[in-house]
């Protein structure tokens, strides 16, 4: 479990904001701002955060679906940001993505078999027979009956479609799977089915997951470690248990307290945050969270806190947390 599969160093993704008739760059949306972390082989690292915190952009930048504007992404110790297009394509066999919305991410004109075999033909020169065999294998693994392989996506429910997306990603036998909100569009009873499937497949294929979600409950269940993002930065990163039992950052505390209880008799101590997430075009000075932070001090307004290790395997970016 100690081998590092993916290492992200000071990754940045800035989108230029253009204005005026000459479309001059007026400023930048700092969607991902100086983010560093490591993912070990066969572990599940989750990134949580509210909408607009940059978690999806981060996931896409790592796979170079969006071209990062700075930093390094080391996959098996090689910086994939230096790769040429051809090399990158080869690399992508090992890194696959599962999308949130199983309704828009599958081509409605292709059958299940075509959808799932497409990545095989793209990445390997493979005979039809061989491809068919691999498709059959993976469909069985994700729990889709073989007789459904001639059907089209619209004939399936949301949960079934997500199984197709997962089959599409896993048919290449990747090492790393970036799952971007894979269960958010599904009903509660179906969510659990898909999560269970992801956990089972991880064991079977020795997968490493980078799991992106806004739902703290989902993440708690399947992650080894969890990172909390806010305005393009990771605020806290720790083992799942440590993060949920002893959160250190005020934002993590507020986020956890806002999750509805599953028991009407338990009344939670609730930290209600004021206001909304500030716009990433014009992030606050100092700590990005200081305007909404119930504990903010003067220092927080001016000085950006560093992301430091305060306990074994526990990193926080906050002035108020003592080392």
């Amino acid at each position: 479990m100690s081998e590092t599969l993916l290492k992200v160093e000071a990754l940045e993704k800035f989108f230029p904001v253009k204005a005026g008739i000459f479309k001059r760059t007026k400023g930048y949306v700092k969607a991902v701002n100086d983010v560093s972390f490591e993912v070990k082989a066969k572990e599940t690292l989750s990134l949580v955060g509210e909408s607009g915190c940059g978690k999806s952009t981060l996931g896409r930048s790592i796979l170079r679906i969006l071209e990062p504007t700075g930093g390094k992404v080391l996959f098996n110790d090689k910086n994939i940001l230096d790769y040429s297009k051809q090399d990158l394509r080869k690399m992508r066999r090992d890194m696959q993505l599962v999308f949130q919305d199983p309704y828009s991410s599958l081509n409605p004109r292709m059958t299940v078999r075509e959808l799932v075999s497409e990545p095989l033909y793209t990445h390997f020169s493979i005979s039809k027979m061989e491809a068919d065999q691999r498709v059959d294998e993976i469909l069985e693994k994700v729990g889709l009956p073989l007789e459904h392989s001639k059907r089209y996506p619209h004939q399936f429910s949301g949960g079934q479609r997500q199984r197709i997306s997962i089959a599409r990603a896993l048919v290449l036998k990747p090492k790393l799977v970036v799952a971007d909100e894979p269960v958010s569009a599904l009903d509660v009873s179906i969510q659990a089915q898909i999560l269970k499937l992801l956990v089972d497949l991880q064991e079977e294929f020795d997968l490493t997951y980078l799991f992106i979600s806004h739902d703290l409950n989902v993440v708690k269940h399947i992650s080894d470690r969890v990172g909390v993002m806010y305005l393009g930065k990771i605020m806290e990163l720790a083992d799942t248990e440590a993060l949920y039992e002893e959160p250190l950052h005020p934002y993590t505390k507020a986020l956890l307290s806002a999750v509805p209880t599953s028991d009407p008799l338990v009344k939670k101590e609730r930290i209600i945050l004021k206001g909304d997430v500030p716009s990433p075009t014009d992030p606050p000075s100092g700590c990005p969270f200081h305007q909404r932070c119930p504990l903010a001090e003067e220092k927080c307004q001016n000085v950006l806190p560093e992301f430091v290790q305060v306990r074994p395997k526990h990193w926080v970016a906050c002035h108020l947390v003592e080392q």
């Binding site: 009903d187 986020l255 806002a258 509805p260 609730r270 945050l273």
Partner: protein, 327 residues
């Protein structure tokens, strides 16, 4: 205490070319004054259709209420009112907020226009008085700088702000009943906590009853006093919130509670299969295809909606058999 809203034996059908298919059946519920009543169910369970039927907003045809009564304030059967009478109640005594605040607000009008619209229709206030009422309600829903916000357009506001505006519009005429259809589903958790808090506060200040429609059992546990669990167009269990979470009776409710990911047990539980489609509704109990405790009788005959404990109704053969044995 007399209920604000009473639904009796409501049935909604959808008329296809040749056949008539049933989508909602045997809905019975009562909402008391100042009560927050929850309806929980997965997508396609008929919870939104039920709320639209109360408002008289069902797309008819093809949908139609084929049976039942909906009494508002004891004596008025909403289903028998003319559309004119209904318009007087809608947005005034009963109002509604929706899941997606962006599509519920008109992008071409300022917040002020949209707030004034319902006041113009339902009250005889002067323009000045109306404006004052708007400012007051915007402050009430926790938005700073009300005068400035009123001049803005919906796209200039964040999701949480828009939902606050929706709530402000709904609360303007001081309704007796507020129907909230997935009010926080499109929002982030920290914003969801703000909005749920606000709704509880408004319930206390305005003495409004709230019908909370959601798929999220967490939202139910946070806010509601009584809950109805819907599955495939029927209420399968109905009771107070504590009994539902601590002494659930129906296998579907039990499954739903167990599959709530999060603080409970470690192993992930999931209900196998999926909700049957309208065309393939089982003949007996509608949950029979996914039920871990299904018996022969469940496939053939639909169980009755029975009181299985004090104030606790459940529609399941497991408890009916028990009853039969007792007699």
């Amino acid at each position: 205490m007399a209920p604000i809203l009473q639904i009796k034996d409501l049935q909604i059908d959808v008329k296809m070319d040749e056949e008539v298919l049933n989508v909602v059946k045997n809905i019975n519920l009562e909402i008391g004054k100042r009560e927050i009543y929850g309806i929980v169910g997965e997508s396609g369970s008929g919870k939104s259709l039920t709320s639209l039927a109360i408002m008289g907003l069902l797309a008819s045809p093809p949908l139609q209420v084929s049976k039942g009564e909906i009494f508002f304030e004891e004596d008025k059967d909403l289903l028998k009112l003319s559309s004119r009478e209904l318009r007087k109640i809608r947005g005034n005594k009963i109002s509604m907020i929706f899941q997606e605040p962006m599509s519920a607000l008109d992008p071409l009008f300022t917040i002020e226009d949209q707030l004034m619209e319902s006041l113009k229709f339902h009250t005889k206030l002067s323009k000045k008085e109306m404006k004052r009422a708007c400012v007051k309600i915007i402050e009430k829903v926790g938005i700073p700088r009300p005068e400035q916000i009123m001049k803005e357009y919906p796209h200039q506001l964040s999701g949480g702000m828009r939902q606050r505006i929706m709530i402000a519009i709904a609360m303007l005429c001081n309704p007796k009943l507020l129907i909230a259809d997935e009010p926080t589903t499109a929002l982030d958790v920290t914003i969801q906590a703000q909005i749920l808090d606000l709704m509880k506060e408004l319930r206390d200040d305005f003495e409004t009853s709230i019908l909370m429609i959601t798929h999220d059992l967490g939202v139910i546990a946070e806010t509601c006093q009584r809950v109805a669990v819907m599955y495939a167009g029927e209420i399968v269990e109905e009771t107070d919130v504590v009994s539902l979470f601590h002494r659930p009776k129906h296998p579907y409710t039990k499954g739903l509670l167990k599959s709530m990911v999060g603080d409970r047990s470690d192993a992930l539980y999931s209900i196998p299969g999926k909700v049957p489609s309208v065309e393939q509704m089982p003949k007996g109990c509608r949950f029979v295809t996914r039920c871990p405790e299904a018996m022969d009788i469940c496939e053939k005959v639909s169980p009755d909606d029975l009181e299985v404990a004090d104030n606790h109704r459940c529609k399941c053969w497991l408890y009916q058999k028990e009853m039969a044995n007792h007699v």
